[in-house]
């Protein structure tokens, strides 16, 4: 199945083409957004369209991960997150 429901791609594509999104994208990136990938899957639904969509999504994930993180990620949450506040322990 596609990575996201087809209706999601349709909604994102229409939103991508909206004036409001153009303004936000320009405010951040100084250029218009690229909206064409979503449409292929909806209209053609061929193996080629699926491959193209998956490649597009993989590229999106890779782009999000390409920057080296400033910090080390945890393996588990902080041990004291759920502990009572210090003043509550005195009650």
């Amino acid at each position: 199945q596609p990575p996201r429901p087809c209706e999601t791609y349709r909604a994102e594509w229409e939103f991508c083409r909206s004036a409001r999104h153009f303004l936000h994208h320009y405010y951040v990136h100084k250029r218009p957004a690229a909206c064409e990938h979503c449409r292929d899957w909806e209209e053609r639904r061929t193996a080629e369209a699926q491959r193209s969509l998956c490649e597009s999504e993989q590229a999106r994930v890779q782009a999000a991960r390409k920057h080296t993180l400033v910090w080390a990620l945890r393996q588990s949450p902080p041990a004291d997150w759920h502990l009572p506040l210090p003043q509550e322990k005195d009650k």
Binding site: Q1, L23, C54, H67, W71, L73, D80, W81
Partner: protein, 174 residues
């Protein structure tokens, strides 16, 4: 937060207090608590931004080893992300502050507000704060977790939430 193992309990993890100066809120990593400055938060929209801002710090504390007190680059990174993702640098908010700009102005705002936030909580020089922010900016500005995108308004936030709910299907089918 819950998905990362840090479910938020409002009685435990939030505190409403009177604060000095014009600080709107803060995240206290030593007690895992978000402080909201009840004397300085003026309306619901401001409240929403402050809560989002501090929850981003809490999220970073939950998912990463952030040395809040000993590594100014770590602090700078979380402040860049909080300014970027909380809505405080939206076009409308910047216009209200009389900061006019369009092309890539979002980045300018994020940088400036991150520096201000650092200076509000650390006794360091502006130059040290600027250097830390500039060193980490590229990486931290592009780290949009947990949203996957910059939530400029409710529509973006709604799409981000939908993607989060759909994440299992998404990562198993790409």
């Amino acid at each position: 937060m819950k998905h990362s193992g840090c479910a938020v309990n409002k009685e435990r993890h939030f505190s409403c207090e009177d604060c000095n100066g014009n600080v709107s809120g803060g995240f206290d990593a030593s007690s895992s608590q978000i402080v909201l400055c009840q004397n300085n938060i003026c309306n619901q929209a401001h409240m929403n931004r402050v809560v989002t801002h501090e929850l981003i710090h809490a999220f970073d504390h939950c998912r990463a080893h952030v040395n809040w007190f000993t590594n100014v680059r770590h602090l700078a990174c979380s402040e860049v992300r909080a300014a970027n993702l909380s809505g405080e640098c939206s076009l409308v908010n910047e216009i209200f502050r009389l900061h006019f700009g369009l092309k890539r102005h979002h980045q300018t705002c994020v940088r400036d507000r991150a520096i201000l936030s650092i200076l509000a909580v650390r006794n360091i020089s502006k130059e040290v704060a600027e250097k830390a922010v500039d060193e980490v900016f590229e990486s931290c500005f592009n780290d949009h977790e947990p949203f996957g995108r910059i939530p400029h308004n409710q529509t973006y936030a709604r799409y981000a939430h939908r993607d989060f709910q759909n994440r299992d299907r998404y990562y198993s089918n790409i």
